[in-house]
Symmetry: C2
Subunit: 207 residues, 2 copies
DNA sequence: GCCCCATGTAAGCAGCGCAAACATAAAAGA
DNA sequence: TCTTTTATGTTTGCGCTGCTTACATGGGGC
């Protein structure tokens, strides 16, 4: 039952999500108020409370949506990365997502995470396992503790945040991509035994 | 002239800073309102506007203070790091600072940075140059572009944020420290030519 | 055909950021 | 020393916010 101008909206839940997402992209986190969401959805100020317990719940729902979109974005960059170059491409996609959706990315990561939103924690677990799966597939010889996966995630995540906060040169997408690729390559020319399958370890440049 | 119970407060500027810092530690960013700051300073609601243009200005001032404290904390961890172990100790201090002062750290990095606060941008520049100086001193053979410094900063910064957001296991300080050290060592056993002064490059484990 | 209840509305409270007009006291100048 | 200026704090008030309570509506199950 679509919104037919009657008393009931029809699908206010997703309308709120959509409106919240738009407000986030337009005005940032500060512009995301439940009242503004209600206005945009064409509904009374307190109607969203029927679907979201409070503001945090709505933000968590938007964040969860963001996690899913980020996962899709990474998968689109390379479906099954196996070489450092592949991983670098995924890393570039990660940082680009952050720069293309700054307010959404901040909502996903930069706010004190509400642990009571099981939708949200589940979504972050998906991202974490996704990254670990990528690294495990690309580096079957690595230890099984996921330490390397955590390291590469942290590196990329940190690059995203530093770029987002203007702490690094993010003047052009190419500059950012080059920086990210360099960092990933620096990490993945690392310890012996962690090289990608099919890569032959180079001898140290002793000549 | 100290606060003597008279009409004028005496040093409201630093009193606001102090109150804001306390509120941030106690209730997080959400609890930091200009009105609450004024109450805690024992002053009318709008008095802080004589010293801070708006809420952002006060937050920026607190953040700038945080940058200086972070720099001191890093220096205390190791005054002149030169080996990967030294750098790992500094990295652990960085992450620990974030976990010990979560709201302050978020105010420093996780909010859209107001570029009009020159005090703030100057303070972040100090941190950046500090990290670059450390890495340059520890790795004199590295390229002069600061790419390696950016990489290690991003890695540590990402670890801090992931731990802060509960995305990683931060159950005990030891677990966190071990994780951080492992990540830094993974990075600093990296490409030939980037090894620390005094370290002899190991041949690839071919035997 | 009737009633229940999910869904929406209306009214209201307290807190917030911020602006404008006003009050006070410390400092500066005559 | 007395006056004037200026920095600092107060009062009042507007519009916005999150959220609660009480009320209205109408579609789906009986």
């Amino acid at each position: 039952m679509p919104q037919n101008g009657t008393y009931h909206h029809g699908d206010l839940r997703v309308a709120c999500l959509r409106a919240a997402r738009e407000l986030l992209e337009e005005d940032g986190s500060a512009g995301l108020s439940l009242r503004a969401v209600a206005r945009r959805a064409g509904v009374s100020a307190t109607a969203p409370y029927r679907h979201y317990a409070d503001r945090d719940a709505l933000v968590s729902a938007v964040a969860a949506e963001g996690y899913r979109e980020l996962a899709q974005h990474l998968a689109a960059a390379h479906p099954a990365p196996s070489t450092p170059e592949d991983l670098a491409a995924v890393a570039v996609a990660y940082v680009r997502f952050a720069l293309d959706h700054p307010a959404l990315f901040r909502a996903m990561f930069a706010e004190p995470c509400d642990p009571t939103s099981e939708e949200r924690v589940a979504a972050t677990a998906v991202i974490k396992e996704y990254v670990e799966g990528i690294v495990r597939d690309a580096f079957p010889g690595a230890d099984g503790t996921g330490a390397l996966a955590t390291t590469v995630w942290a590196l990329v995540h940190g690059l995203a945040f530093l770029h987002l906060d203007g702490k690094l040169d993010a003047s052009s997408p190419e500059v950012v991509a080059t920086q990210v690729r360099a960092a990933v390559h620096a990490l993945f020319t690392a310890a012996p035994g962690l090289r990608a399958a099919g890569e032959s370890p180079e001898p140290p440049a002793a000549g």
